[in-house]
């Protein structure tokens, strides 16, 4: 029976928020005591660029992995994927405490499986992303990580049992490229702790959720700053992340599948909150408060960035998807709760 170890990476919050730091420290202290876990700390995931030691460290991890971050799970998972840190999506059972009792019903409503183009070149391991904003203390996370470790162990054992039956000889399941890379690294020099934890500069760029992305290419038509590109498989990618204008979320409003996330944006829907799942997701009243529809807001935001760049505003004349006027832009969530709550309150 092989000893399966689970790598747990904690990605710190930006800045020096004392409550966040306290949670991170108590979590790491608790996790280090757990058997079978390799625990590491890296800076804020979203800000790590290709040269950052923290990212190189993440790339070197071969097996199953848990990533704890101050990001929505969906945002963390897909930003890792874009960085070449790929794996199958690990299902977590960690749900934030329901804000009110209405949400119990909403969770029964499973959203339809989105029909995206999916990730490619996915190695056979799982990545579990946990959101550090869901709970204020470390216990729920430790419990969930224990459950995940168990799940990974069982999965590995099942796989090895199946292999043993199929082929008598021991087969090293394929991450040969990674193994080679790992062999050339000198642990001390490449992953020195002060290098891993070097504070990165703040970055701003979109993250594509390929489980939702249909490759429609509306984003690359819309963005006039060259952020998007197409890879050798004719798939849309966020090619030039640092071309993206800080604070601008316009392209995410234009995506018909809500597949574009800006993990640092203030509105949960754009930052990568679970789609179709109401817990923690609030109603966006922007349209009622003068906001107009998503496309016109996106065009305004884009114009603001164009003008700031010394270019001409284009309004709706360039790269605007042709859709039926008045098509409902929001995700089709069941938001009866609010109106029922309003009616029920007998003030």
């Amino acid at each position: 029976m092989s000893r399966h170890r689970l790598t747990v990476v904690l990605s710190q919050a930006q800045g020096k928020h004392p409550a966040k730091r306290a949670l991170e420290e108590s979590l790491v202290a608790a996790l280090i005591m757990e058997p079978g876990l390799d625990v590491s700390v890296v800076p804020y995931l979203y800000d790590l660029d290709a040269e950052h030691t923290g990212r190189l460290f993440l790339e070197s991890i071969q097996g199953d992995m848990v990533v704890l971050s101050w990001l929505f799970s969906r945002a963390a998972f897909w930003l890792l994927d874009r960085d070449g840190i790929k794996g199958h999506l690990g299902e977590t059972q960690l749900k934030p405490p329901a804000a009110d009792e209405d949400e119990e019903d909403a969770e029964e409503d499973e959203p339809q499986a989105p029909k995206g183009i999916g990730a490619v070149a996915v190695p056979d391991r799982h990545i579990y992303c946990l959101d550090l904003r869901d709970f204020n203390d470390h216990e729920p996370y430790v419990a969930e990580i224990r459950r995940i470790a168990q799940e990974c162990r069982q999965r590995q054992e099942a796989k090895q049992a199946a292999q043993a039956q199929a082929k008598p000889a021991l087969v090293e399941l394929g991450l040969p490229a990674m193994a080679e890379k790992n062999a050339t690294l000198s642990e001390e020099t490449r992953f020195a702790p002060e290098q891993i934890l070097k504070p990165p500069d703040r970055r701003w760029y979109p993250v594509i959720d390929y489980s939702r992305c249909t490759n429609c290419m509306e984003c690359i038509d819309f963005c006039l700053f060259g952020v998007y590109g197409v890879d050798s498989l004719e798939r849309i990618t966020v090619e030039n992340q640092d071309n993206c204008k800080r604070g601008c979320p316009a392209c995410s409003r234009v995506c018909p599948e809500h597949a574009i996330m800006f993990p640092d944006y203030k509105t949960p829907a754009i930052a990568g909150a679970p789609v179709g799942n109401i817990s923690g997701l609030k109603i966006d009243l922007t349209k009622l408060f003068g906001g107009g529809d998503a496309i016109s807001i996106a065009a305004q935001e884009r114009d603001r960035e164009l003008v700031r760049d010394g270019r001409e505003a284009v309004g709706l004349t360039v790269g605007i998807p042709k859709r039926q006027a008045g098509k409902h832009e929001e995700p089709k969530d069941d938001l009866d709760n609010l109106m029922d709550a309003l009616d029920a309150m007998d003030i």
């Binding site: 804000a99 203030k266 509105t267 949960p268 609030k282 109603i283 966006d284 009243l285 922007t286 349209k287 009622l288 408060f289 003068g290 906001g291 107009g292 807001i297 305004q300 409902h328 929001e330 995700p331 089709k332 969530d333 069941d334 938001l335 009866d336 609010l338 109106m339 709550a341 309003l342 009616d343 309150m345 007998d346 003030i347």
Partner: protein, 150 residues
């Protein structure tokens, strides 16, 4: 001066004072005094938002703004929304107390919960009767939008 009107949102009575004018585009009331336009959320808006947690302005005082230009952002127990200028003009002052504690918006939306003062074009604002009619005409559509059926 017009009488106060009450618009029923389901069972909830949204009180609309008669001595104020209203911006239909963003559900704000307006009190005109000494050439200044003071704005705040109408009872209708407050009811939709529920408890205000956090308010943030993205323009500074003294800035000229266009009608429907984004000026801020709000987050509440049930909702989030971007906020937009109710008319064209210049924002003269924000209610600083709200930035420390926005609960006055829920407790006294027509008084201590005022949002900002502007100098600007009051012609887009309507009286309570027209605002009430607007709410009535759009109530069905608004409920559907909130329930995500549109």
């Amino acid at each position: 001066m017009a009488d106060e009107l009450t618009f029923l949102m389901g069972k909830f009575p949204a009180r609309l004072p008669g001595d104020l004018r209203y911006a239909r585009t963003n559900h704000m009331w307006c009190r005109q005094a000494e050439g200044k336009l003071r704005f705040g959320f109408s009872a209708y808006a407050v009811r939709l938002m529920q408890d205000v947690y956090f308010l943030d302005w993205v323009v500074s005082t003294g800035t000229a703004v266009q009608h429907l230009q984004q000026i801020g952002h709000i987050e509440t127990s049930k909702a989030v929304a971007d906020l937009f200028a109710p008319t064209s003009g210049t924002i003269m002052a924000f209610n600083q107390e709200l930035l420390k504690d926005p609960s006055a918006i829920n407790v006294d939306n027509y008084g201590a919960g005022w949002l900002f003062d502007m100098e600007g074009d009051a012609s887009v604002l309507v009286d309570v009767g027209d605002y009430f009619a607007f709410l009535e005409a759009n109530w069905e559509k608004t409920q559907r939008m909130l329930k995500g059926h549109m």
